[in-house]
């Protein structure tokens, strides 16, 4: 059996057209040996949940700078669950006010990374979570 690769979907929901952050994260995860599916700008929650299903990803990273995160994130989480993707790790990056962070975590978001967050921290958090997940898989 070949190495179990970590597959990540990096998606930009909503209407803001700034994807520098998403691309920096995509690149950092690739350099950490992960397979990153990048879907481009202006994705609807339905498109993101569908792509996550087809690509059978372990992780979904959402980049949101429009301020619509409190509307978009719960919708995406609901659709992922409706598709049977309960065990997918979801993290959020972008401009997220501190006040919203507890609510996002409450919904099931694993991590929130604002401007200045280090890509190493994102890589480490994903690796730690995946080690725990893969350990439970049958060999």
């Amino acid at each position: 059996m070949s190495e179990r690769k970590i597959r990540v979907l990096i998606a930009k929901p909503g209407l803001d057209g700034h994807d520098r952050g998403a691309k920096v994260v995509a690149r950092a995860l690739r350099d950490a040996g992960m397979e990153v599916i990048y879907t481009g700008l202006r994705q609807t929650p339905e498109m993101i949940a569908e792509a996550a299903l087809q690509e059978d990803v372990d992780v979904v990273g959402l980049s949101i700078l429009s301020g619509a995160h409190m509307a978009l994130v719960p919708r995406i989480l609901d659709l992922l669950r409706a598709n049977g993707l309960d065990d997918v790790l979801v993290f959020v990056g972008g401009i997220i006010p501190d006040d919203d962070m507890p609510a996002l975590r409450e919904m099931g978001v694993s991590g929130v990374y604002g401007p200045g967050a280090s890509t190493e921290a994102i890589v480490e958090d994903i690796r730690t979570a995946m080690q725990a997940k893969f350990a439970q898989e049958p060999h």
Binding site: R4, R7, E35, V36, T39, G40, E46, L53, E55, G84
Partner: protein, 335 residues
């Protein structure tokens, strides 16, 4: 319920999971794939290859869209992108160009990293295609990594291979080089709204005439001279058509799909369809045998013996051929 049964019942989540197992060479996947195999052999496999930047992803998007809108056939897309040889990671970006297809339950797109395999496809691509075939996808589009001139694996896998070119990519000399253009069943000049499209098409046509001799009439010193093709036979040979497209606008795509369907019909009529299936399965069988035999052999050769012969090889006391022979004869001695 077993995964294979869920897949046959149309469960997309189960299919996605099996594709992951296939990619990871997870033993759980082999048994499921064995159960699905009798249900394969129905899909039409279309390969799309060509240099980076010719617009393969956009073309795949527009071909898939046409099949959905005008033929109502279920379409699967396998898009292969390169893995980094250093970290093993990959950014798979083909979906960016395929957003028109989202929301259609009759389309399933799967991105694959090449995972160190050469030849423009990942090793597991053939098995991923089998899973889609069994799951009832009638048209399977396989997009290779941006291929150069030697990556011709796709021609062994697909029924119909499209080679995509675009104006301004070093046409004249590139077109003459053997390899990738010779595997083309259909040549596509994409981005045909760009300047230089005539040059690209002319270069391709010149290359085709070299590769596929046809009866031609030349004017030479005021006289018409007929040059017959060297081999004339009753069986109609397939001359790859050249189709201009602007994939982002859908221009030329209906004509391209017509040419694809004509090629499929040609394959069925002259028996090449079955022949290609046979060749593909033979290649897969031989690959598996090679893998298995090497593994079995390595289990029978003590590591010390293997290392000793390898040392002799490195020190140039044995040639590679003699070293292989020495390893084989060491197993004969022990059995």
């Amino acid at each position: 319920m077993r995964l294979a049964e869920s897949i046959l019942a149309g469960n997309r989540r189960a299919l996605a999971r099996l594709l992951t197992w296939i990619e990871n060479e997870d033993p759980r996947g082999f048994a499921e794939l064995d159960a699905l195999f009798p249900h394969t052999g129905k899909a039409f496999l279309i390969g799309v290859t060509g240099a980076p930047g010719t617009g393969k992803s956009s073309l795949v998007n527009s071909i898939a869209l046409h099949y959905r809108q005008h033929h109502q056939r279920k379409v699967a897309i396998v898009a292969v992108d390169p893995s980094s040889p250093f970290t093993g990671g990959a950014v798979l970006g083909d979906r960016v160009r395929m957003r028109d297809l989202s929301g259609d339950p009759g389309v399933f797109i799967r991105s694959m990293a090449s995972r160190g395999s050469l030849g423009g496809l990942a090793q597991a691509t053939a098995r991923v295609v089998q899973a889609f075939d069994a799951a009832g996808y009638e048209v399977i589009l396989i997009e290779t990594v941006g291929a150069g001139q030697a990556e011709v694996d796709i021609a062994k896998l697909a029924h119909t291979t499209l080679v995509v070119e675009a104006p301004g990519l070093g046409d004249d000399v590139q077109a003459i080089k053997a390899g990738i253009l010779e595997i083309a069943d259909i040549l596509v000049v994409n981005k045909a709204d760009r300047p230089g499209v005539e040059n690209t098409e002319r270069a391709l046509r010149g290359m085709l005439e070299l590769a596929h001799p046809v009866r031609r009439v030349f004017r030479h010193h005021g006289k018409s001279m007929v040059v017959d093709a060297p081999m004339t036979s009753d069986i109609e040979t397939w001359i790859p058509p050249i189709q201009r497209t602007v994939a982002t606008q859908g221009t030329g795509v209906p004509e391209l799909v017509e040419a694809i369907e004509k090629h499929a019909q040609h394959l069925r009529e002259n028996g090449d369809w079955d022949k290609r299936n046979r060749v593909r399965l033979q290649a897969e069988l031989e690959d598996l045998l090679r893998e298995t035999l090497i593994r079995q052999l390595r289990q029978r050769v003590p590591p010390e013996t293997f290392e000793r012969i390898l040392d002799d090889l490195v020190a140039r006391r044995l040639s590679p051929r003699a070293a292989a022979e020495a390893i084989l004869s060491s197993t004969r001695a022990t059995t």
